[in-house]
């Protein structure tokens, strides 16, 4: 089963500590070697993106940035055997933030990708 992990947090005033980035790279290597991590990438602030909306039968395109309290920071795509395994990988990822970036706060959303097992 596949899960997408979305990391959401307030846009930080300072770049993430180099130590955290190194630890994230290492975790990514481990998860790839374990055959669990299929794809991942960082996401730029909403200023670099746009929003395409349909309201009242009309389509509109709005360029970023958007006044949101949180930004999507990154995504990762995992293939695991159970939901608990996906939670474990996501927890490892979040613990790195907790341990290596004092005062940082954020959340990782785990969404299950619809698969043959859901029918």
């Amino acid at each position: 089963m596949r899960y997408v992990m979305l990391l959401e947090a307030a846009q930080p005033a300072t770049p993430p500590p180099a130590e955290l980035m190194a630890a994230i790279m290492k975790l990514g290597e481990e998860a790839t070697a374990a055959g669990a991590l299929l794809d991942n990438a960082g996401l730029l602030p909403s200023a670099a993106g746009a929003k395409i909306t349909v309201t009242g039968g009309a389509l509109s395109v709005t360029d970023g940035p958007f006044a949101e309290t949180k930004e999507m920071i990154s995504y990762a795509l995992y293939e695991t055997r159970t939901r608990e395994e996906a939670v474990e990988w996501a927890s490892r990822f979040m613990k790195l933030h907790r341990d290596l970036w004092p005062a940082w706060e954020g959340e990782c959303r785990l969404l299950k990708i619809m698969g043959p097992e859901d029918f």
């Binding site: 070697a33 374990a34 669990a36 795509l77 395994e85």
Partner: protein
């Protein structure tokens, strides 16, 4: 039970019930089991014993985590607990002295603790190597194919005995027996926990890849029973394939097998219709192919090609890639597929490959050319009892307008197959003109 040093136990999620913690324990064990068993095998020198000790650690976690909460670092906790079990065991064994001596330490009582730490430290740099040793041991030629499969799923996949039994449509007792017998064989044959010598690597690697692909195929096309596919086994084989790519990045066939499995798995969702009936490759809705798996498969194939000449798995992946690249069935480059089958028939000759080549030639050069190859197989008495021989012959005959003969072939295919959904498909073609 003594807790591993430096273990912080913190209940981060007090709302988790006992049963849920059990699932967490299992999830962590599955992620770590291969590494843990491999590390333990390095300490105790016996894979079967290492697996027993890893299971002990799992049981300890199942007892303790529901009471004390899930440790903050559950993976390292399991590993440390398992290593301590192993060292406790060594301490009880006579050869403890000798083991310590090999680490180059005196066995003075005062130094015992630090010597133990020495063993543990010596382990940490070898995880990749140890996993590889574990895979080669699980697929050791002294073991039967069934045992290789069971041990691989158990030790590298962390699957429970009942899960393996369900996947292979057999009883838990049978699988337990198989695993027990395999462990005994490894001990009896004094199979050492080591990498095969260079001269044996090609044959041993072929056995490993063969086991993984067997697991994949068991999931991809059930040979018996109601299920057309058992996706969990496919996913497990895919995961093992990806693990092998990380462990043996320079082996073309490892990437070839990964590519083949990713590409075949990309079609799982399109292989059945809404009623669960099989849909053949050329009739599949290609929009339902899993693009991520296609992309990964093509990337793995590219790596295999960069590493040298394609072997049997790489060639099959190259054939699967031709289908993946064609936007519609009509755009399939059958000439290239027929040529690839020609190479495959040379590298790994088999009647099944020849049958597939016949189908491809039938598409590239017309049904008569394909039928000539199939008839050659029939004349040699190849593939008796193989349902896809009459099915392929039926297809070619139908395209030649020989409907009656075609229907007879499909009836024969329906009679031969052990897969019920397949039988339904062949029966339909045997009766509808």
């Amino acid at each position: 039970m003594r807790l591993p040093p430096g273990t912080a136990i913190r209940c981060e999620n007090p709302g988790v019930s006992g049963a849920d913690v059990g699932r967490v324990v299992e999830a962590v064990y599955r992620i770590e089991s291969g590494r843990i068993i491999a590390a333990l095998a390095r300490i105790v020198g016996d894979v079967g014993l290492a697996e027993d000790l890893a299971q002990d650690a799992l049981l300890i976690a199942l007892e303790q985590w529901p009471l004390r909460g899930v440790p903050d670092d559950p993976g390292p906790w399991l590993m440390a607990t398992a290593k301590h079990r192993a060292i406790d065991l060594l301490r009880r064994q006579e050869n403890y002295r000798r083991k310590l001596a090999t680490v180059g330490r005196d066995v003075e009582l005062a130094e015992r603790e630090s010597a133990e730490a020495g063993i543990v430290d010596a382990l940490d740099d070898h995880i990749g190597d140890d996993l590889l040793r574990l895979i080669f041991t699980a697929c050791h030629p002294a073991l039967s194919t069934e045992s290789q499969v069971a041990l691989t799923l158990r030790m590298l996949g962390g699957l429970r005995t009942d899960e393996i039994a369900r996947a292979f449509l057999t009883t838990e007792a049978t699988v337990s027996q198989r695993i027990l017998r395999a462990k005994k064989t490894l001990a009896k044959e004094r199979v050492r926990f080591e990498l095969p010598p260079a001269s044996e690597v090609p044959a041993r690697l072929a056995a490993v890849l063969g086991t993984v692909y067997l697991i994949f195929n068991e999931g991809y096309s059930a040979t018996a029973g109601d299920g057309w596919a058992r996706p969990a086994l496919c996913e497990e084989a895919l995961r093992l394939g990806r693990v092998l790519c990380g462990l043996l990045p320079a082996e073309a066939e490892v990437h070839g097998l990964a590519a083949l499995m990713e590409l075949q798995a990309s079609r799982v969702g399109a292989r059945t219709d809404a009623e669960g009936r099989p849909v053949l490759l050329l009739d599949q809705d290609r929009r339902r192919w899993d693009r991520l798996l296609v992309r990964r498969g093509l990337a793995a194939l590219r790596r295999a090609e960069e590493l040298g000449t394609l072997g049997p798995y790489g060639l099959q992946a190259a054939i699967a890639a031709e289908h993946a690249r064609a936007r519609t069935a009509a755009e399939t480059d059958w000439g290239r597929i027929a040529a690839l089958y020609g190479v495959l028939a040379y590298v790994a000759p088999s009647a099944v490959v020849e049958l597939n080549r016949a189908v491809a030639v039938g598409m590239a050069d017309g049904p008569a050319a394909g039928l000539a190859i199939v008839d050659g197989l029939v004349a040699k008495g190849e593939l008796p009892g193989y349902p896809h021989l009459p099915a392929a012959r039926g297809e070619l005959l139908e395209r030649l307008g020989r409907g009656q003969e075609a229907r007879a072939e499909f009836a024969r295919a329906a009679e031969l197959t052990r897969n019920e959904v397949e039988r339904e498909l062949f029966s339909r073609r045997a009766t509808t003109p």
